[in-house]
């Protein structure tokens, strides 16, 4: 029977479907009887999408204008 520690260490492999059927069954048995780990799994799974939204950045307009100017100059001098 897996402990919380075993289960949490295996979450990445579990979510990516890389565990053997037997390991997966052991983990599911633990999760079904341990609500803290079940909630931990839910929040672990939700973390990447929340982070992706928080870390999205817009390039400042001034930097964007400089980029366009830089590329036009370089491309023109290369052709």
């Amino acid at each position: 029977m897996y402990t919380c520690k075993d289960s949490i260490n295996l979450l990445l492999e579990y979510l990516e479907g890389e565990m053997s059927p037997e390991e997966s069954r052991h983990l599911q048995e633990h999760l079904s009887g341990c609500s803290p780990c079940e909630e931990f799994l839910n929040t672990y799974r939700a973390t990447p999408s929340l982070c992706k939204r928080a870390l999205a950045a817009r390039m400042p307009k001034e930097v964007s204008s400089k980029l366009t100017e830089f590329l036009r100059t370089k491309i023109k001098s290369a052709s």
Partner: protein
């Protein structure tokens, strides 16, 4: 506007965002974005068209950002190991989640304070962990692509990704439970 300029405009925010989060420097991010699109233009003939332009250009950006970080890292101290959650000697969680905030991830608007907490936590991740997390979870590169740009093994990449996700999950959990836990 040329076809190439249109491609630049479509992908510049993501390339700049990746470079900014990896280097934590606006000046470096602007330069990396310039170098990335110039490299892309110079190697357009190598773009086979069987992958999305975005995926190809993001790999170029990751290479440029990593080169800059490697150059910086020469003078930096050894990287710290990220610790995961705490467990009791019997292997049970020492600190139980108070609330399941996973459904908030599906809501349209992201709380501004939560966004700030995530950015601060991501910026505090040791570089090797931050790189892998940004390349996989934010930029969407495959493990094989990350192994190619970092030179690390896939098991090492997965191990660092797991540790980074645990650290960020912890930061988000602390935000949601800031009123429920004592000092």
């Amino acid at each position: 506007m040329s076809a190439f300029e249109a491609l630049v405009e479509s992908h510049q925010d993501k390339v700049y965002g990746l470079a900014l989060r990896m280097t934590r420097s606006e000046a470096d991010a602007a330069e990396i974005t310039q170098d990335t699109f110039l490299s892309a233009y110079q190697h357009l003939k190598d773009f086979r068209g069987d992958a999305a332009f975005g995926s190809w250009v993001h790999r170029i950006a990751a290479n440029h950002a990593l080169m800059r970080l490697r150059h910086r890292r020469v003078t930096q101290a050894a990287e710290v190991e990220l610790q995961g959650p705490e467990f009791t000697p019997r292997g049970t969680l020492a600190d139980y989640p108070v609330s399941d905030w996973s459904r908030d991830a599906e809501e349209k608007a992201l709380d501004a304070e939560l966004g700030q907490a995530i950015r601060q936590s991501a910026d505090r991740l040791p570089e090797g962990y931050r790189e892998v997390f940004l390349l996989k979870d934010v930029d969407g590169l495959s493990y094989e692509q990350i192994a190619e740009v970092t030179g690390d093994s896939i098991p090492a990449i997965k191990s660092r990704l797991h540790r980074a996700r645990l650290a960020l999950r912890e930061a988000i959990d602390a935000f949601y439970n800031r009123d429920n836990r004592g000092p």
